[in-house]
C-alpha cells in the first residue's frame, strides 16, 4: 500500500485552568484555551483556521449540542464545526480528525478544541452518566456500574494475578499530586502522603477516593498545520505528529478475555510504534491515561514501558519520575491535573509539545531522542489513541 500522506505538525496550543470552574459556561471556558493558542502563535489568526473540530462528551451539560455555541463564542465562522465524541478519549478523537483532514489534503490548518463541564450536575447524576460508558442495557441498567467500578474490576484482577498492591496504586496518586503541585493549571496543586492516599474512603473497592481522578471542568486546544503551511508561516518549533495509532474493545466487559490490561492500548500502541518507526525505549516523556491509579500501572505494561505484571514495580522503583527511565504524567496526569473528558486528549498534546520544546520549566524532563507519547483511553478501554510526537533538531 502506498500512503500519500502529508506531514502534520502541532503549531500551537492552549490550556485553561482545570478544576471546579463554576465561574464559566462551556464556551467561556473554551475561549480561555483558544485565546492562549492564538496568542502563542503570533503568525496565525482565527481567519487562517480552515476547520474546527470540537470534542466534548457533553453528557453533564445544560448545552446538549455544545460545538455550535463554542464555535460562535470563540469567533470561528464557517469552518465547521464538527463535534466528535469518544468518551474520555474525545480530545484525541478531535485531534485525529483534524490531523487526518490535513494529512489527506482537505485543509492546511485545523483547530481541535476539547472542552468539558462536569460540575453543572450533582455527583450521583455524573456517576450515572459515567456508568453508562459501556453498554447501558446489559451493565448499568441491571447492575449500577459506575466508572470507578469498571476500573476497580481491573484492579481486583490485576492484584490477584500479579500481586499488585493498594500501596503501589497509592504511589501513583502521590506521584501525580507531586507534579500537580508544580503545575499552575492543575485541579489539585497539593502534595499528598502515601498514608493519606491509603486512608481515603473506598469509592469502589479496591479503588479509594485518592485512586480516582477528580471531576474537572476544563478546556484545551491544539492548532495543527500541514508541512507547507509550517514553512509558509515560518513556524520556529513545529512538533510533528509522527503517528496516531488507534483501537477499541468490546462495549460489554463480559466479552473481554481478561481484566489485567487493555487490549485497545496494546493494539493502538503497536500501530503507533510501527507507523512512527519508534520503540517504547525511544520515548523521552509520556502522558498516559491515569483516570484511576490502576490505569496508569496497566498503561506502563500495555505500552511496553515494562513487562506485563511489572507495572507496580515500576512505580515502586520511581522509574516514571523525572530522572527515571521514562517520566510519565509529570503535568499531574488526569489524577491531579484533572480530567475534563473532552479536554484531556488535547491537554496531553499541549503538555508534550511544551516538554519537547523545553518549555516545561521546573517540570522539564531531559529530552534525548526528541520523542514523546500520549496515551488516551475512552471509557474502560473502549477507545484508545496513542499519539507519537517528534521535534526535529
Amino acid at each position: 500500500m502506498v500512503i500519500l500522506m502529508r506531514r502534520v505538525a502541532v503549531i500551537s496550543g492552549g490550556n485553561s485552568r482545570f478544576g471546579v470552574r463554576s465561574d464559566v459556561t462551556i464556551q467561556e471556558l473554551a475561549f480561555e484555551a483558544v485565546k492562549e493558542a492564538l496568542e502563542q502563535a503570533s503568525c496565525i489568526t482565527l481567519k487562517d483556521i480552515q476547520l474546527s473540530i470540537v470534542g466534548s462528551v457533553g453528557t453533564r451539560l445544560y448545552e446538549l449540542l455544545p460545538a455550535v455555541p463554542v464555535n460562535e463564542y470563540v469567533g470561528l465562522d464557517g469552518v465547521g464545526p464538527m463535534r466528535v465524541e469518544a468518551a474520555c478519549a474525545t480530545g484525541s478523537a478531535a485531534i485525529y480528525t483534524a490531523y487526518a483532514s490535513i494529512a489527506c489534503g482537505q485543509v492546511d490548518t485545523a483547530i481541535a478544541i476539547g472542552v468539558e463541564k462536569m460540575h453543572e450536575v450533582d455527583t450521583a447524576t455524573s456517576l450515572a452518566a459515567g456508568g453508562r460508558g459501556g453498554n447501558y442495557l446489559w451493565e448499568f441498567h441491571l447492575f449500577g456500574t459506575t466508572f470507578p467500578s469498571y476500573y476497580a474490576l481491573y484492579a481486583t484482577a490485576h492484584m490477584a494475578k500479579y500481586g499488585t498492591s493498594e500501596e503501589q496504586m497509592a504511589k501513583v496518586a502521590v506521584k501525580a499530586h507531586k507534579y500537580g503541585a508544580m503545575n499552575p493549571k492543575a485541579h489539585f496543586q497539593r502534595v499528598i502522603t502515601l498514608e493519606e492516599a491509603l486512608k481515603s474512603r473506598a469509592v469502589a473497592w479496591p479503588l479509594k477516593l485518592y485512586d480516582c481522578c477528580p471531576m474537572s471542568d476544563g478546556a484545551a486546544t491544539v492548532i495543527l498545520a500541514s508541512e507547507d503551511k509550517v514553512k509558509e508561516l515560518n513556524i520556529e518549533m513545529p512538533i510533528w505528529i509522527d503517528a496516531i495509532g488507534y483501537s477499541s474493545d468490546t462495549a460489554n466487559l463480559c466479552r473481554r478475555p481478561d481484566y489485567v490490561g487493555l487490549r485497545a492500548t496494546r493494539r493502538a500502541a503497536e500501530m503507533a510504534y510501527r507507523r512512527a518507526q519508534v520503540e517504547s525505549s525511544h520515548v523521552d516523556v509520556a502522558t498516559v491515561h491515569d483516570c484511576f491509579t490502576i490505569a496508569e500501572i496497566m498503561a506502563y505494561e500495555d505500552l511496553g514501558f515494562c513487562g506485563k505484571g511489572e507495572g507496580g514495580k515500576m512505580i515502586d522503583d520511581g522509574q516514571t519520575e523525572i530522572g527515571g527511565k521514562i517520566p510519565v504524567n509529570v503535568d499531574g496526569g488526569l489524577k491531579a491535573k484533572g480530567h475534563p473528558l473532552g479536554a484531556t486528549g488535547c491537554s496531553m498534546i499541549y503538555e508534550l509539545a511544551k516538554q519537547l520544546r523545553g518549555e516545561a520549566g521546573k517540570r522539564q524532563v531531559p529530552i534525548k531522542n526528541n520523542i514523546a507519547l500520549a496515551h488516551n483511553i475512552g471509557g474502560t478501554g473502549h477507545y484508545c489513541w496513542v499519539t507519537i510526537l517528534r521535534r526535529e533538531r
Binding site: 450521583a124 456517576l127 453498554n135 447492575f143 449500577g144 459506575t146
Partner: protein, 145 residues
Amino acid sequence: MNMSKEPPSIVSRSITYSHKIPVSKTQVFWEKLKEGKIFTTKCKMCGELYYPPQADCPRCLASEVEWVELSNTVTLETYTYVQVKPQGFTQYEPYTIAIGRTMEGVKVMGWLEHEKPEVGIELKVTTKMLPDGYPVVVFVSKDRV
C-alpha cells in the same frame, strides 16, 4: 483565589429522560430472568454463543438464533464493592459487582453476595427481584440453598 464562595448561577429548565427500551428480540432473557434462569443466544448457522444475548450474528450475518440456558455455576474472575452509587441505585445498600465465567466459556456480570470473595472461587448463579421491581443476576456461595 477564594474558592469557598459559590460563584453566582441560575437554574436551567429541567429535562427528564426515561426511555422505552425495545426488548422484542431479547424477551426470552427478561422472562427467564424472573424464573431465576440465565438464557442466552446461540447462532444456528455458526454455533457462536453470545452473552449478553443478541439476536443477530455479525460473524455470519444470520439472524436465526436459538435460546439456550447457561449453567448455574461460575468461576469468579473479578469483583468490586461499590460504595459511591449512581443515580438510579442510591436507594440500595452498597453492592458488589462481579464477573464470573460459566462452564460454557462465556462471562456473566452479576451482583455478588459472598462474605469472603476471592478470584477463582466457584459460585452459584441465581437471580432475584429487587423491591422496586428490577430483576438482578446474583452470584452466591455454592453452599447456599
